[in-house]
Amino acid sequence: MYLYSANFWTALIDSRGIFFEAAQMTLALTAVSILIAIFIGLLFAFMKISKIKPLEWLANIYIYVVRGTPLIVQIFVFYYGLTEIWMISGFWSVALGLAFHNGAYIAEIFRGAIQSIGKGQTEAGRSLGMSGNLTMRRVILPQAFRRALPPLGNQFIIGLKDSSLAAFIGVSEIFAVATTQGANTFDYMTWLLVSAVWYLILVFLLTLVVSAIEKKMAVSD
């Protein structure tokens, strides 16, 4: 009955192959959804600070809906909605659902960061003859991005952990593999702990990456 020893450490070591694969799935899901979310976040941040009122309203509604509904509901809406009309895979429907979700939080992070850059920076750029767009791209955004990095890193970590919800759509990422192992061995606790260790490792690596980027951007201090 027991495919693996009930001993936690043996389980952790013996199962490294399948969990390594599952971790890659988790990472892929996180990377894809976060990349799309950054794009969505930037777009909606610009809409929110735009002088065109309907754009601002649209952004507000989006953020309101994302904040006001459970992530698992969002993911299932994307899954049932998209797989029906688009013949899209479970992986991609979850990736898009997560991107939709994280995009709203990232939009708020970017908006706050952009607005925290003093008016003097824009005026300096404009007074040199730079256009509004050029000033945004060359002067404001680089500074805003740097200021956004700590909260963004935090959001990336949340996104990584939330990708575990993909298990409910049948994507074989870490949590899905852990529950399958648990069901097979009747030893859920061991496998949940094994999955926790894998999540901790991934979060640790992600934190390293974010702080490396932060260090790199801190040269101007």
Partner: protein
């Protein structure tokens, strides 16, 4: 038409209900250095900012180099290339090196090659005495050095007019001199300058003309010696005695 570098007729500017500039008439000749003085809130900054269209006038005419500027029709980015501005708080780009600050607008706006812009930029930095700081970030500089970089950055666009809004007000007293010296050099090279400052010594020594503003109006204007020694208006007398 006008053969002046700057000509302003009947300029009015309000912020909501607050009428800040009231029927201002104002001219600056080529190579002239004009110092604007006046109490806090009298509208000096607003006046300066209307000249490079960081603020939009409500009514009146602004001519730059003889051409009337219509903010709705004219390309303000091109107008601003001719009118450099230096701010009280420097507003350097903190994420770029000193040289990066100086070459940013020439390369991005004028399309000057990076090599050429660096060469010109280095020369400008030498000129303001900061040739050895080219690769430092602004956070490493003193206030006086920052302001000199800001001047070099504005000059990199080869403007024909320079506006200074209290360029030394944010500096420690011992750093004021180096910035004023840079500005004096610039004036001697024939740059057309409009300077808002409380440095009366600079006004006396460098200005061709001093303009006293009060409550959104130009009250009196004249050569520094005349205005400082024999102010005609009571308001001017009161202001001068309050600051001297």
């Amino acid at each position: 038409m006008s053969d002046k570098m700057i000509e302003v007729n009947k300029l009015n500017k309000s912020f909501g209900d607050l009428h800040v500039l009231k029927d201002i008439d104002f001219q600056v000749e080529e190579s002239e250095v004009v110092v604007l003085i006046g109490a806090s809130g009298s509208g000096k900054s607003t006046m300066l900012r209307c000249l490079n269209f960081l603020e939009m006038k409500n009514s009146g005419e602004v001519y730059i180099k003889g051409k009337q500027i219509d903010p709705k029709k004219d390309n303000l980015n091109q107008v601003r290339q001719q009118v450099g501005m230096v701010f009280q708080h420097f507003n350097l780009f903190p994420h770029m090196t000193v040289l990066g600050n100086v070459i940013e607008a020439p390369t991005q706006v004028k399309g000057v090659s990076k090599a050429q812009a660096k060469k010109d930029g280095q020369e400008l930095l030498e000129k303001v005495g900061l040739g050895n700081k080219a690769n430092d970030y602004p956070s490493r500089l003193s206030g006086g050095q920052k302001q000199r970089v800001a001047i070099a950055r504005a000059l990199a666009m080869k403007p024909e007019i320079m506006l200074f809004d209290e360029p030394t007000s944010a500096l420690d007293p011992e750093l004021v001199g180096e910035v004023l010296a840079t500005m004096k050099d610039l004036a001697q090279e024939g740059m057309t300058m409009v300077v808002v400052t409380h440095e009366m010594g600079f006004a006396r020594e460098v200005a061709d003309r001093v303009v006293y503003m009060h409550d959104g109006k130009i009250v009196e204007t004249g050569a520094p010696k005349d205005l400082f020694e024999n102010p005609k208006e009571e308001r001017t007398q009161a202001f001068l005695s309050s600051i001297l």
